[in-house]
Amino acid sequence: MSNLEDELRRALRREEPPADFADRVLAQLNQPAAPSWWERFSVLMKPPRLQWVAVTLMVSILLPTAALRYRREQQIRAEGERAKEQLLIAVHVAGSRLHHAQRKVLESGRMETRL
Protein backbone atom coordinates (compact mmCIF):
# COMPACT_ATOMS: atom_id res chain seq x y z
CA MET A 1 0.00 0.00 0.00
CA SER A 2 2.76 2.33 0.90
CA ASN A 3 4.46 1.44 -2.40
CA LEU A 4 1.46 2.54 -4.35
CA GLU A 5 1.31 5.78 -2.45
CA ASP A 6 4.97 6.36 -3.08
CA GLU A 7 4.53 5.75 -6.79
CA LEU A 8 1.54 8.08 -6.96
CA ARG A 9 3.39 10.74 -5.10
CA ARG A 10 6.32 10.39 -7.48
CA ALA A 11 4.11 10.53 -10.55
CA LEU A 12 2.11 13.50 -9.41
CA ARG A 13 4.87 15.54 -7.98
CA ARG A 14 5.27 19.04 -9.31
CA GLU A 15 7.87 19.50 -11.96
CA GLU A 16 9.16 22.80 -13.11
CA PRO A 17 8.89 23.44 -16.87
CA PRO A 18 12.06 24.00 -18.84
CA ALA A 19 13.33 27.52 -18.84
CA ASP A 20 12.34 28.26 -22.49
CA PHE A 21 8.88 26.68 -22.24
CA ALA A 22 6.99 29.96 -21.98
CA ASP A 23 8.93 31.42 -24.91
CA ARG A 24 8.19 28.43 -27.09
CA VAL A 25 4.47 28.55 -26.30
CA LEU A 26 4.36 32.24 -27.10
CA ALA A 27 6.28 31.69 -30.33
CA GLN A 28 3.75 29.04 -31.43
CA LEU A 29 0.86 31.37 -30.63
CA ASN A 30 2.36 34.19 -32.61
CA GLN A 31 2.82 32.07 -35.74
CA PRO A 32 0.14 32.66 -38.42
CA ALA A 33 -2.45 29.91 -38.69
CA ALA A 34 -1.99 27.40 -41.59
CA PRO A 35 -4.29 28.31 -44.47
CA SER A 36 -7.36 26.12 -44.96
CA TRP A 37 -7.88 24.17 -48.21
CA TRP A 38 -10.38 26.76 -49.34
CA GLU A 39 -7.87 29.54 -48.78
CA ARG A 40 -5.28 27.59 -50.74
CA PHE A 41 -7.83 26.95 -53.51
CA SER A 42 -8.91 30.60 -53.69
CA VAL A 43 -5.29 31.60 -54.08
CA LEU A 44 -5.12 29.38 -57.18
CA MET A 45 -8.22 31.08 -58.56
CA LYS A 46 -6.55 34.48 -58.64
CA PRO A 47 -4.32 35.76 -61.42
CA PRO A 48 -1.66 34.91 -62.43
CA ARG A 49 -2.06 31.38 -61.01
CA LEU A 50 -5.56 31.17 -62.46
CA GLN A 51 -4.08 31.27 -65.97
CA TRP A 52 -1.80 28.36 -65.23
CA VAL A 53 -4.65 26.41 -63.69
CA ALA A 54 -6.78 27.09 -66.77
CA VAL A 55 -3.97 26.05 -69.09
CA THR A 56 -3.34 22.85 -67.13
CA LEU A 57 -7.05 22.00 -67.11
CA MET A 58 -7.40 22.65 -70.83
CA VAL A 59 -4.36 20.56 -71.66
CA SER A 60 -5.54 17.71 -69.44
CA ILE A 61 -8.94 17.73 -71.17
CA LEU A 62 -7.91 18.50 -74.73
CA LEU A 63 -4.96 16.15 -74.92
CA PRO A 64 -6.88 12.92 -74.16
CA THR A 65 -9.77 14.12 -76.36
CA ALA A 66 -7.41 14.79 -79.24
CA ALA A 67 -5.70 11.44 -78.69
CA LEU A 68 -9.05 9.61 -78.71
CA ARG A 69 -10.14 11.47 -81.82
CA TYR A 70 -6.86 10.71 -83.56
CA ARG A 71 -7.19 7.02 -82.64
CA ARG A 72 -10.77 6.92 -83.95
CA GLU A 73 -9.72 8.56 -87.19
CA GLN A 74 -6.92 6.03 -87.57
CA GLN A 75 -9.46 3.22 -87.07
CA ILE A 76 -11.82 4.73 -89.65
CA ARG A 77 -8.92 5.14 -92.08
CA ALA A 78 -7.86 1.51 -91.57
CA GLU A 79 -11.45 0.32 -92.12
CA GLY A 80 -11.72 2.54 -95.19
CA GLU A 81 -8.48 1.17 -96.62
CA ARG A 82 -9.73 -2.39 -96.07
CA ALA A 83 -13.03 -1.54 -97.77
CA LYS A 84 -11.14 0.09 -100.63
CA GLU A 85 -8.99 -3.01 -101.10
CA GLN A 86 -12.14 -5.14 -101.18
CA LEU A 87 -13.70 -2.80 -103.70
CA LEU A 88 -10.63 -2.96 -105.94
CA ILE A 89 -10.59 -6.76 -105.72
CA ALA A 90 -14.31 -6.92 -106.49
CA VAL A 91 -13.96 -4.62 -109.50
CA HIS A 92 -10.91 -6.58 -110.61
CA VAL A 93 -12.75 -9.91 -110.41
CA ALA A 94 -15.83 -8.56 -112.20
CA GLY A 95 -13.79 -6.74 -114.84
CA SER A 96 -11.47 -9.65 -115.49
CA ARG A 97 -14.41 -12.05 -115.87
CA LEU A 98 -16.03 -9.68 -118.34
CA HIS A 99 -12.70 -9.50 -120.11
CA HIS A 100 -12.49 -13.28 -120.09
CA ALA A 101 -15.94 -13.59 -121.64
CA GLN A 102 -15.07 -10.95 -124.22
CA ARG A 103 -11.86 -12.82 -125.12
CA LYS A 104 -13.70 -16.12 -125.42
CA VAL A 105 -16.26 -14.57 -127.73
CA LEU A 106 -13.50 -13.02 -129.83
CA GLU A 107 -11.58 -16.30 -129.88
CA SER A 108 -14.59 -17.95 -131.42
CA GLY A 109 -14.09 -15.64 -134.38
CA ARG A 110 -17.29 -13.77 -134.17
CA MET A 111 -18.34 -10.91 -131.98
CA GLU A 112 -22.02 -11.22 -131.42
CA THR A 113 -22.46 -9.75 -128.02
CA ARG A 114 -23.37 -6.36 -126.76
CA LEU A 115 -20.10 -6.00 -124.87
Binding site: A83, V91, A94, L98, H100, R110, E112, L115
Partner: protein
Protein backbone atom coordinates in the same frame (compact mmCIF):
# COMPACT_ATOMS: atom_id res chain seq x y z
CA UNK B 1 -46.33 12.81 -90.36
CA UNK B 2 -43.94 14.16 -92.97
CA UNK B 3 -41.06 12.33 -91.27
CA UNK B 4 -43.10 9.12 -91.36
CA UNK B 5 -43.63 9.51 -95.10
CA UNK B 6 -39.93 10.18 -95.70
CA UNK B 7 -39.02 7.13 -93.59
CA UNK B 8 -41.48 4.97 -95.50
CA UNK B 9 -40.01 6.12 -98.84
CA UNK B 10 -36.48 5.42 -97.55
CA UNK B 11 -37.46 1.93 -96.41
CA UNK B 12 -39.14 1.20 -99.73
CA UNK B 13 -36.14 2.49 -101.73
CA UNK B 14 -33.74 0.44 -99.58
CA UNK B 15 -35.93 -2.62 -99.99
CA UNK B 16 -36.00 -2.13 -103.75
CA UNK B 17 -32.22 -1.80 -103.87
CA UNK B 18 -31.75 -4.81 -101.60
CA UNK B 19 -34.21 -6.76 -103.71
CA UNK B 20 -31.94 -6.33 -106.71
CA UNK B 21 -29.10 -8.21 -105.07
CA UNK B 22 -28.99 -11.94 -105.72
CA UNK B 23 -29.33 -14.19 -102.73
CA UNK B 24 -25.94 -15.92 -102.61
CA UNK B 25 -26.39 -17.58 -99.22
CA UNK B 26 -26.61 -21.07 -100.68
CA UNK B 27 -22.97 -20.75 -101.83
CA UNK B 28 -21.72 -20.38 -98.26
CA UNK B 29 -21.59 -24.14 -97.80
CA UNK B 30 -18.90 -24.33 -100.51
CA UNK B 31 -16.50 -22.34 -98.33
CA UNK B 32 -15.59 -25.46 -96.35
CA UNK B 33 -14.70 -27.41 -99.47
CA UNK B 34 -12.79 -24.70 -101.32
CA UNK B 35 -9.06 -24.15 -100.93
CA UNK B 36 -9.36 -20.44 -101.73
CA UNK B 37 -12.41 -18.33 -101.09
CA UNK B 38 -13.09 -14.69 -101.87
CA UNK B 39 -16.21 -13.38 -100.22
CA UNK B 40 -16.83 -9.69 -100.76
CA UNK B 41 -20.03 -7.94 -99.79
CA UNK B 42 -20.09 -4.22 -100.35
CA UNK B 43 -23.57 -2.87 -99.85
CA UNK B 44 -24.62 0.74 -100.45
CA UNK B 45 -23.14 2.45 -97.39
CA UNK B 46 -19.94 0.39 -97.32
CA UNK B 47 -19.48 0.92 -101.05
CA UNK B 48 -19.74 4.69 -100.65
CA UNK B 49 -17.40 4.53 -97.67
CA UNK B 50 -14.84 2.53 -99.67
CA UNK B 51 -15.15 4.88 -102.64
CA UNK B 52 -14.18 7.81 -100.43
CA UNK B 53 -10.77 6.23 -99.95
CA UNK B 54 -10.09 5.88 -103.66
CA UNK B 55 -7.50 8.35 -104.82
CA UNK B 56 -8.29 10.83 -107.55
CA UNK B 57 -4.59 11.02 -108.37
CA UNK B 58 -4.34 7.36 -109.36
CA UNK B 59 -5.97 7.05 -112.81
CA UNK B 60 -7.23 3.49 -112.18
CA UNK B 61 -8.69 4.35 -108.80
CA UNK B 62 -10.27 7.49 -110.25
CA UNK B 63 -11.93 5.31 -112.90
CA UNK B 64 -13.17 2.89 -110.25
CA UNK B 65 -14.54 5.82 -108.25
CA UNK B 66 -16.46 7.05 -111.27
CA UNK B 67 -17.65 3.54 -112.08
CA UNK B 68 -19.03 2.81 -108.62
CA UNK B 69 -20.62 6.23 -108.11
CA UNK B 70 -24.03 4.99 -109.15
CA UNK B 71 -23.77 1.48 -107.74
CA UNK B 72 -25.83 0.21 -104.83
CA UNK B 73 -23.83 -2.90 -104.09
CA UNK B 74 -21.11 -5.30 -105.23
CA UNK B 75 -21.15 -8.94 -104.20
CA UNK B 76 -18.37 -11.30 -105.20
CA UNK B 77 -17.95 -14.98 -104.36
CA UNK B 78 -15.08 -16.98 -105.79
CA UNK B 79 -14.26 -20.56 -104.84
CA UNK B 80 -11.18 -22.44 -105.98
CA UNK B 81 -11.22 -26.18 -105.39
CA UNK B 82 -8.41 -28.73 -105.14
CA UNK B 83 -10.13 -31.21 -107.36
CA UNK B 84 -13.09 -31.59 -109.65
CA UNK B 85 -16.56 -32.44 -108.49
CA UNK B 86 -16.46 -30.52 -105.23
CA UNK B 87 -19.41 -28.49 -106.31
CA UNK B 88 -22.27 -29.47 -108.55
CA UNK B 89 -24.72 -27.74 -110.80
CA UNK B 90 -27.28 -28.05 -108.02
CA UNK B 91 -25.23 -25.60 -105.95
CA UNK B 92 -25.80 -23.05 -108.69
CA UNK B 93 -29.46 -23.89 -109.26
CA UNK B 94 -30.87 -21.36 -106.76
CA UNK B 95 -28.86 -18.59 -108.39
CA UNK B 96 -29.85 -19.62 -111.88
CA UNK B 97 -33.46 -19.72 -110.77
CA UNK B 98 -33.19 -16.11 -109.53
CA UNK B 99 -31.62 -15.12 -112.84
CA UNK B 100 -34.54 -16.54 -114.80
CA UNK B 101 -36.91 -13.77 -113.77
CA UNK B 102 -36.19 -10.19 -114.76
CA UNK B 103 -32.65 -10.81 -115.97
CA UNK B 104 -31.46 -11.04 -119.59
CA UNK B 105 -28.53 -13.22 -120.46
CA UNK B 106 -26.34 -11.13 -122.75
CA UNK B 107 -23.40 -13.51 -123.03
CA UNK B 108 -23.11 -17.23 -122.65
CA UNK B 109 -19.74 -18.77 -123.44
CA UNK B 110 -19.31 -22.48 -123.10
CA UNK B 111 -15.93 -24.00 -123.81
CA UNK B 112 -15.98 -27.78 -124.04
CA UNK B 113 -12.22 -27.89 -124.34
CA UNK B 114 -11.54 -25.90 -121.17
CA UNK B 115 -14.82 -27.07 -119.61
CA UNK B 116 -15.48 -23.47 -118.81
CA UNK B 117 -18.87 -21.84 -118.70
CA UNK B 118 -19.26 -18.07 -118.48
CA UNK B 119 -22.59 -16.32 -118.40
CA UNK B 120 -23.33 -12.63 -118.11
CA UNK B 121 -26.75 -11.35 -117.19
CA UNK B 122 -28.14 -7.83 -117.15
CA UNK B 123 -31.11 -6.38 -115.40
CA UNK B 124 -32.42 -3.16 -116.86
CA UNK B 125 -32.85 -0.20 -114.57
CA UNK B 126 -36.44 0.79 -114.02
CA UNK B 127 -38.21 3.54 -112.14
CA UNK B 128 -37.91 1.72 -108.82
CA UNK B 129 -35.13 -0.66 -109.71
CA UNK B 130 -31.48 0.25 -109.98
CA UNK B 131 -30.67 -2.48 -112.50
CA UNK B 132 -27.68 -4.70 -112.27
CA UNK B 133 -25.16 -7.15 -113.63
CA UNK B 134 -24.54 -10.79 -112.77
CA UNK B 135 -21.60 -12.90 -113.87
CA UNK B 136 -21.45 -16.64 -113.35
CA UNK B 137 -18.22 -18.40 -114.30
CA UNK B 138 -17.98 -22.09 -113.64
CA UNK B 139 -15.24 -24.54 -114.47
CA UNK B 140 -14.49 -27.88 -112.79
CA UNK B 141 -12.22 -26.40 -110.13
CA UNK B 142 -13.43 -22.84 -109.88
CA UNK B 143 -16.70 -21.06 -109.36
CA UNK B 144 -17.13 -17.31 -109.59
CA UNK B 145 -20.34 -15.39 -109.00
CA UNK B 146 -20.43 -11.62 -109.23
CA UNK B 147 -23.47 -9.47 -108.65
CA UNK B 148 -23.35 -5.73 -109.17
CA UNK B 149 -26.42 -3.71 -108.25
CA UNK B 150 -26.89 -0.35 -109.94
CA UNK B 151 -26.12 1.31 -113.20
CA UNK B 152 -22.88 -0.09 -114.57
CA UNK B 153 -20.86 0.76 -117.65
CA UNK B 154 -19.69 -2.60 -119.02
CA UNK B 155 -17.02 -1.07 -121.25
CA UNK B 156 -15.44 0.73 -118.32
CA UNK B 157 -15.67 -2.35 -116.11
CA UNK B 158 -14.09 -4.52 -118.78
CA UNK B 159 -11.37 -1.94 -119.26
CA UNK B 160 -10.64 -1.96 -115.52
CA UNK B 161 -10.50 -5.74 -115.63
CA UNK B 162 -7.56 -5.34 -117.94
CA UNK B 163 -5.95 -2.64 -115.86
CA UNK B 164 -6.20 -3.76 -112.25
CA UNK B 165 -3.54 -6.42 -112.27
CA UNK B 166 -4.71 -8.26 -115.37
CA UNK B 167 -2.76 -7.59 -118.56
CA UNK B 168 -4.88 -5.47 -120.85
CA UNK B 169 -5.96 -7.25 -123.96
CA UNK B 170 -6.02 -5.27 -127.13
CA UNK B 171 -9.58 -6.11 -127.94
CA UNK B 172 -11.52 -4.38 -130.57
CA UNK B 173 -14.62 -2.86 -129.09
CA UNK B 174 -17.70 -3.60 -131.06
CA UNK B 175 -21.34 -3.55 -130.17
CA UNK B 176 -23.29 -5.95 -132.32
CA UNK B 177 -27.01 -5.79 -132.45
CA UNK B 178 -27.71 -9.30 -131.14
CA UNK B 179 -28.51 -9.14 -127.46
CA UNK B 180 -27.40 -12.64 -126.63
CA UNK B 181 -25.15 -15.27 -128.05
CA UNK B 182 -24.17 -18.68 -126.88
CA UNK B 183 -20.98 -20.13 -128.13
CA UNK B 184 -19.47 -23.52 -127.95
CA UNK B 185 -15.75 -23.22 -128.45
CA UNK B 186 -14.25 -26.30 -130.11
Amino acid sequence: MKILKVLTVCVLVSAAAYGQALDLKNLEKLSDKAKNVTDITLDGSLLKFAAKFLSNDDPDQAKVKKLVAELKGIYVRTYEFESEGEYTESDLAPIRSQLRSGWSRIVGVHSKKERDNTEIYLKSAGAAEPGGLAIVCANPTELVVVNIVGKIDLDELSELGGNLGVPKLDLEKSKPSKPESKKDND
